[in-house]
Amino acid sequence: MRKVLPMLVVVLGALSLPMAVAAQERIGDAGGSAESKVIPPHSRVFITPIEGGFDTYLSAALVKKEVPLTVVAIKEKADFEITGIAESEKAGWAKMMFFGSGQSNEQASIKVVNLKTGVVAFAYAANKGSATRGKQSAAESCAKHLKARMEGKE
């Protein structure tokens, strides 16, 4: 009995190891492995046209915030695609009267999709109650967070 017990433990251990590895792989796939969500510096990104011309604001913001990405105008040449929505709401008389603010309310959200794997590598939503510089502020907020993500700060 004393000789059989250690052998049984070893056999059970050997059998359970591949199962544990397979389970770990399944968890990794479900959550999206960290490697698949990486946006390498100098990747080529295509910005899908967004209502209200937000795509050009985003393009300008990527330049201004020095995000290490190359924006391309042809989707076939891109590694990643940025899609998003944006909405502006101008200040009404009540906001001007009670808050003394004529600044608009800006909302925008973007997502960056890896065109090869189809994985959403980054997503961010910006909400500016009183945006000092309108769409430019929302676009620059998105760009700033994208840069932080690429640099591993987020």
């Binding site: 050009t56 300008a60 105008a73």
Partner: protein, 145 residues
């Protein structure tokens, strides 16, 4: 350590710093410039393209605007939005000026790369769309070499 060795070390370190700074500047600029005299096509954008054409002339941007996209080297895609001052802004803020937003993007039609992008915002624009177009033109001029 002799004086000659120190000098050599200082020169080597200085050269290294200069190379690093140069590389950073090139990286920031993406190394993309628009050659002087390049032909650009301005995509229609709710009348803002006309303001841009005028601004390119006013700011003496050395680019040739063409009406046929097939003949162009670059394409300017733009978007502009004007919000006239309402009664509330006039009474409560005491401002008659409009709020202007504009953004432009210059695409290289051969490589498909975006070589320049800029956005403008003014809460109280003195000359409306003219101001935003001229601001875009002024910054574009810096990119033309």
């Amino acid at each position: 350590m002799t004086l000659g060795q120190r000098t050599r070390i200082v020169v080597a370190v200085s050269c290294g710093l200069l190379v690093a700074l140069g590389a950073r500047a090139a990286d920031k600029d993406n190394g993309k410039t628009i050659p002087t005299g390049a032909k650009v096509y301005i995509t229609p954008s709710d009348g803002f393209e006309q303001n841009l054409k005028d601004a390119l002339v006013a700011k003496q941007v050395p680019l040739t605007v063409v009406d046929d996209k097939a003949k162009a080297d670059y394409e300017i895609v733009s978007h502009a939005q004007t919000q006239k001052a309402g009664a509330a802004k006039k009474i409560l803020m005491g401002s008659w000026h409009s709020k202007e937003e504009a953004s432009i993007q210059v695409n290289d039609l051969k490589s498909g790369d975006v070589v320049f992008a800029y956005s403008y915002h003014a809460d109280n624009s003195a000359h409306g769309r003219k101001s935003s177009a001229e601001s875009c033109a002024k910054h574009l001029k810096e990119k033309v070499k």
